[in-house]
């Protein structure tokens, strides 16, 4: 029996090598260790093999090899995901898109770019610099995350408030289905024809196949950009300002909240001139044409004053704007100065209830003896409470899990959802029944089964399965370039 299994493994390796070449199949301990993690603090299994195809055809062939050997496969981009979506279960073949980094075609007339899935988000926008266009989804990890990963997670970002999340910017996607067939879903232009399989695929967290080519929509660069930094003596006032801006019918390009602990941690690094004594700051970005931007700036300043802002600073130039954003998007290694470990949550709540929920989150953290830091996409109600702690303290992990669960439950109670942009992955599978009935989950299962009848594409993710793969763990240290 053992001999038979050994032979099958050897065949799997040589079959994969026949597709991508011996240099691009890894099964050593170092590779297995490296590819067993993503940006989350979840630890599951290890990959059986890691392969790095260079083309759509090679991806499809790798999947066919996995199917032939009855092995699961796990698509992987940059591994920046925060919900364990790329953490391998069942000794799978991990298929990395790290070699698929070509921008294939840019069509400015039709406002479309075809890219390979391994293209880094920010690289596309950099490539487009000077054309008057950019790729709108801007997750804070955009310097490292891939567009294929953005598609899998339906990623957001600060500027998704006005421009919509990834799904709104993907016109078509070529997919290697879990049976190894290559199909194009969606249309370059116009509404999708027939069932919107493109829309169903986006956000599938790698469980519906692997995106091999993506047609993204390009967005016009705004002629005018204005960034405001508003300073508040209480988090409640900042949150109320956010609600009031939306209620006034203004949808800024971005509206982000950072509380005092975050501001104090990032200021020495960003040197953005954030007010260190503020209980909270709001970054509000307005863009478009001069008339609208001027009027919205004035209106938001008025609303902020009514709600007690201590000052309204308007970035004078691009340099100042970039510094303000650097603090928001940039490295959070600074947070490690407070405590060595962290756990980051991601829920969405109705944006009229920000103030009460943030206060509730603070109470939850205090009750469990934890520190909570808040830095989040306030405009669309997308919370990112960051629990920081020292994992060496006895019992602290239990407190972190309990607090996390209470934060999720509080978000659902006020009419919110489990995740705004990180996805479900392994992390939140068990919470799915808080939001969905068994019948709702059955409908989702139906979608998944239609794409992947054998259940071999990224198994155990998204829907609760009862399988035990994946445990939350406190990260011993803040990884380089962590983001929120």
């Amino acid at each position: 029996m053992l001999g038979k299994q050994k032979k099958s493994v050897d065949n799997l390796q040589s079959d994969l090598e026949a597709v991508v070449g011996v240099d691009f199949v890894h099964s050593g301990n170092a590779a297995k260790h490296l590819y067993s993690k993503d940006g989350s603090s979840i630890r599951g299994g290890q990959p059986g093999f890691v392969c790095l195809p260079a083309s759509a055809e090679e991806v499809a062939a790798c999947i066919k090899v996995a199917v032939k050997h009855d092995r699961a496969f796990v698509p992987r981009g940059a591994g920046t995901g925060l919900a364990g979506g790329a953490v391998p279960c069942d000794d799978p073949v991990v298929i990395s898109t790290a070699r698929m980094t070509k921008i294939l075609e840019v069509d400015l007339d039709r406002r479309i770019a075809w890219v390979q899935p391994g293209v880094i988000n920010l690289d596309l926008t950099r490539y487009l610099r000077g054309t008057g266009f950019h790729f709108a989804p801007d997750p804070s990890s955009q310097q490292s995350c891939t567009i294929g990963g953005n598609v899998a997670n339906n990623s957001g970002g600060p500027h998704c408030l006005a421009y919509g999340v990834t799904s709104a910017h993907v016109a078509a996607v070529e997919v290697a289905l879990p049976n190894g067939e290559l199909v194009v879903l969606g249309e370059e232009q116009g509404d999708p024809f027939g069932y919107d399989l493109r829309g169903a695929f986006v956000g599938g967290e790698g469980t519906l196949g692997l995106a091999t080519r993506i047609a993204v929509r390009l967005t016009r660069d705004p002629p005018i950009v204005q960034t405001l930094l508003l300073d508040f003596a209480s988090v409640e006032e900042a949150a109320q300002t956010v609600s009031a801006v939306i209620a006034a019918g203004i949808v800024p390009a971005a509206m982000e909240l950072m509380d005092q602990k975050v501001v104090q941690a990032v200021e020495p690094y960003a040197r953005a001139g954030y007010p260190l004594d503020a209980a909270a700051v709001l970054i509000v970005e307005l863009d478009g044409l001069l008339g609208g931007v001027s009027r919205e700036t004035k209106k938001i300043s008025e609303i902020a004053r009514i709600h007690g802002t201590r000052s309204v600073r308007i970035a004078a130039d691009k340099e100042e704007r970039d510094r303000i954003w650097k603090g928001r998007k940039g490295a959070f290694g600074a947070i490690a100065k407070i405590k060595p470990s962290y756990y980051l949550h991601d829920t969405v709540i109705p944006r009229t209830r920000l103030a009460e929920v943030i206060s509730g989150v603070t109470d939850i953290a205090e009750k469990h003896g934890l520190i909570v830091m808040n830095v989040f996409h306030a405009g669309d109600g997308n919370l990112h409470p960051l629990l920081v702690f020292d994992h060496r303290e006895p019992g602290v992990m239990e407190a972190v899990y309990s607090a996390g669960e209470e934060i999720v439950r509080l978000s659902i109670e006020v009419g919110g959802v489990l995740s705004g942009e990180h996805g479900i992955g392994l992390e939140k599978r068990a919470f799915m029944p808080l939001l969905f009935s068994p019948n709702d989950l059955r409908a989702q299962r139906t979608l998944r089964d239609a794409f992947d009848p054998q259940g071999i594409s990224n198994p155990h993710k998204v829907l609760p399965t009862g399988a035990s793969c994946g445990d939350l763990q406190g990260l011993p240290e803040m990884p380089d370039g962590a983001w929120i």
């Binding site: 007339d109 998704c160 199909v183 509404d191 399989l197 169903a200 956000g203 959802v417 969905f436 979608l447």
Partner: protein
């Protein structure tokens, strides 16, 4: 007033049913099979939360009624329909507004849907918040499915502020030049010689763009909004007589309906697996086929 549970009972768990909205696009994708029992989704406003920019309605609510409610708070939804069209019907057809590149597509409008499935049970897709990646995106799959996977009973939609002003301008010029001179027009139509552009937004911005387009290309305000022919097809490099190209979507409006391309067999296989999973007995809107219209 009928509610979701009444609708669920009417749909039942057996026999073919077709759901009727306003009947404005009744033949699109094929008429329902003869003898198929007709059901109506409940209407009515459930909750409008202007400060959230979301609204929940019975899917049978007429768009005109919804528009009236929303406009009282200066808001609208990114749906567009003929006289009598219902919210559920427009979502089932899934055609985006002509203004989509400024206000978003029909698909991006639906946040949450309570549907009656083929088994007669209610299932919920999506979530009530404006941002959500909790589980699979069933909402986008259901929009444009002509009610063949589930029947919309109650839906939550994203609303948006009504633009302060809207202006149509037009004249003879090359549309590719115009594109570079306006930031985010809502619509850009071309009939082979002339362009017609819908500008919307803040008053002074619209005025300024209109002035630039007048001085650069001689474009003038249009006395009336262009009346588009009924049928849609896809741009293939030439315009039929009397046709208009909507430049940003590549959709051609003309008197002739476009012939939908036959999808590749692998795509069709996937679509058939979905249909079979959601509606094994093919009882939901039999005769109607989302692959039979553009």
């Amino acid at each position: 007033m009928r509610n979701l549970e009444d609708f669920q009972k009417e749909v039942g768990a057996s026999d073919p049913v077709c759901v009727r909205g306003g009947g404005t696009q009744w033949a699109l994708g094929g008429l329902p099979n003869l003898g198929c029992r007709e059901v109506l989704a409940p209407g009515g406003l459930v909750a409008f939360q202007p400060a959230e920019m979301t609204v929940t309605v019975g899917a049978g609510m007429r768009l005109t009624d919804l528009t009236t409610v929303l406009s009282e708070q200066g808001q609208e939804v990114a749906l567009e329909g003929g006289e009598g069209a219902t919210v559920g019907g427009l979502l089932a057809v899934g055609r985006s507004s002509m203004r989509w590149c400024r206000i978003g597509t029909a698909r991006d409008t639906l946040l949450q849907a309570d549907c009656v499935g083929a088994d007669g049970e209610i299932f919920r897709a999506g979530g009530p918040t404006v941002k959500n990646v909790t589980g699979y995106d069933l909402c986008r799959l259901l929009v444009g499915s002509l009610g063949t996977l589930g029947l919309f009973g109650r839906v939550t939609l994203r609303t948006r502020p009504i633009p302060e002003t809207t202006v149509w301008i037009g004249g003879c010029t090359d549309y590719s030049l115009v594109v570079q001179k306006c930031y985010r027009p809502a619509t850009l139509l071309w009939d082979g010689k002339r362009v017609a552009i819908r500008l919307e937004g803040y008053y002074e911005d619209v005025e300024e763009e209109a002035a630039v387009l007048k001085s650069e290309f001689g474009l003038e305000r249009l006395g009336e909004v262009p009346q588009l022919p009924l049928h849609r097809s896809r741009w293939n490099g030439s315009l039929p007589l009397g046709g208009f190209l909507e430049v940003f979507s590549g959709i051609v409006y003309s008197a002739i309906a476009g012939v939908p391309p036959g999808p590749p067999s692998a795509v069709l296989d996937l679509a058939n697996r979905l249909k079979k999973g959601f509606d094994p007995a093919a009882r939901l809107n039999p005769g109607r086929d989302p692959y039979q219209f553009l």
